[in-house]
């Protein structure tokens, strides 16, 4: 009989698989075709080369010896057991793997862990704790900025970085005046968050949550 822990793991594995398929289906439809096909699984090789890397994750120094193929995402999840960062499409299309690297949001699935010697990485676990939520986490809860929750850690990391990007004056595709300060309106938030796909379609609540945090800041 399965122990509760096993059931939990199975449920999560199943969920991950379902969401991965959904995300790829959504983004890589033939018409959208960012990437049409899923690839063969990574081949395992006992003699695969390893490299050492040290970086700081959520304020803690971490030293790892990794198969060079390990993505930053897999290093966080499998190596450091920080399961908050999610694997959706694994091809940079869905944004579920978004983390903040040296102050900037990135897709942790499309970068190798060994490329980040000395970097500072913040994951959803490093933004806040269940007792002391980051304002963006609290706003997502308040505004129901999710349903299944799978994309949420990536959405929240992305949203925190988006507000910093606007603050820093970085323009977006919808910024009318390239030389002015970008406005903090819904159109800007939607455009800037377009790299985070939500299959439940919680988009309007996500924009409300981010808007509230931005308003409090102003």
């Amino acid at each position: 009989m399965a122990t509760p822990r096993e059931i939990d793991v199975k449920r999560r594995t199943l969920m991950a698989a379902t969401v991965a398929t959904a995300a790829v289906g959504a983004v890589a439809s033939r018409a959208g075709a960012q990437v049409p096909a899923a690839g063969p699984p990574a081949s395992s090789n006992a003699a695969a080369p390893t490299t050492k890397v040290s970086f700081i994750v959520n304020g803690k120094a971490r030293d790892l010896a990794l198969d060079t193929r390990t993505t930053l995402l897999d290093a966080l999840r499998e190596g450091l057991h920080l399961g908050g960062t999610k694997k959706g499409c694994d091809h940079g299309q869905c944004g579920a793997c978004t983390v903040i690297l040296d102050g900037r949001r990135i897709n942790s699935c499309l970068t190798l862990a060994v490329m980040h010697e000395g970097s500072k990485i913040t994951t959803i676990e490093g933004l806040g704790t269940p007792d002391k939520l980051h304002p963006m986490q609290a706003a997502f809860v308040k505004h129901d900025g999710y349903q299944c929750g799978y994309c949420t850690p990536g959405q929240i990391c992305s949203a925190v970085a988006v507000l910093a990007e606007i603050e820093a004056g970085i323009p977006s595709h919808v910024t009318a005046d390239l030389n002015g300060k970008p406005p903090l309106d819904d159109a800007e938030l939607r455009e800037r968050m377009s790299g985070n796909i939500c299959r439940c379609g919680a988009y309007s609540n996500i924009v409300e949550a981010i808007g509230e945090v931005a308003g409090r800041k102003a």
């Binding site: 033939r30 018409a31 959208g32 075709a33 960012q34 990437v35 049409p36 096909a37 690839g39 063969p40 990574a42 081949s43 090789n45 003699a47 695969a48 080369p49 490299t51 198969d67 060079t68 193929r69 993505t71 694994d90 091809h91 940079g92 944004g95 978004t98 690297l101 900037r104 949001r105 990135i106 897709n107 499309l110 970068t111 190798l112 060994v114 490329m115 010697e117 992305s158 970085a161 988006v162 990007e165 820093a168 004056g169 970085i170 323009p171 977006s172 595709h173 910024t175 390239l178 030389n179 939607r190 455009e191 800037r192 377009s194 790299g195 985070n196």
Partner: protein, 320 residues
Amino acid sequence: MKPFTYERAASPAEAARAAADRPDARFIAGGTNLLDLMKLQIETPDHLIDVNGLGLDRIEETPDGGLRIGALVRNTDLAADARVRRDHAVLSRALLAGASGQLRNRATTAGNLLQRTRCPYFYDTNMACNKRRPGSGCSALGGYSRQLAVVGGSEACIATHPSDMAVAMRVLDATVETVKPTVKPEGARRTIPIADFHRLPGDTPEIETVLEPGELITAVTLPKPAGGTHHYLKVRDRASYAFALVSVAAIVQPDGSGRVALGGVAPKPWRREDAEAEMSRGAKPVMAKLLAGAKPTEENKFKLPLAERALAAVLAEAKG
């Protein structure tokens, strides 16, 4: 992914030398295209040379009033640079129309120029594709070709170059600077006009640029500002985060003359200086020359009127 060894290069010339010594080595910059392709085993390098630590991440002014953009400058930083926004706005606009905020934070100037096609058959390792497996045939000819090239393609390949940035670089007359491995430790430098950088497929679609084995891009240089109003109009299947069906990069001068290059229609950013002589007469005569000799498929012939209308919209915007 296939196993590979990894090294951090110490200087541009050493990186070039290391790559020349190992034919199956690749440089890795942002990794956003290379790793995507390695996961699918479309790229299978046995060695990666990380070029992120080479100090090629600065934007400097050149003596003639232009900008020298390091190969490792991130797309976000290039788009946000105050000088680029003010003097080369078409480049900021093109960059901001591409990919997502997360991807632009990693993607580099050189990596963006060298990103590979998004042809669906290039990605599907079960299908014939001359670019992925030379000599295997082209599944797109007679297949699903909606996104693919209408001009500049060949019997062997009709893939498009997917970059938005490269289209703006073409209209700005950018120059690519490289270092090639030689017997001398410092290597040999050369500069390549962007117009000559990407190759047309002919019967070797797997060779996409004029870069030689081991040749490393060190910078992309822009000449002094072109003036005029700058435009980048990208037409795609959704409002954000999708590759172009057609894109128009244009610089229009107050007298109506100007420059135009197209994305999404050809194997490289598509510009013909003779077409630009027609700019003040409107979109139709420009497109007649720019897309002369086009051979669209049944599925992508919509790109011809779409390109003309996109340019008409840009010219109307330029008039204000």
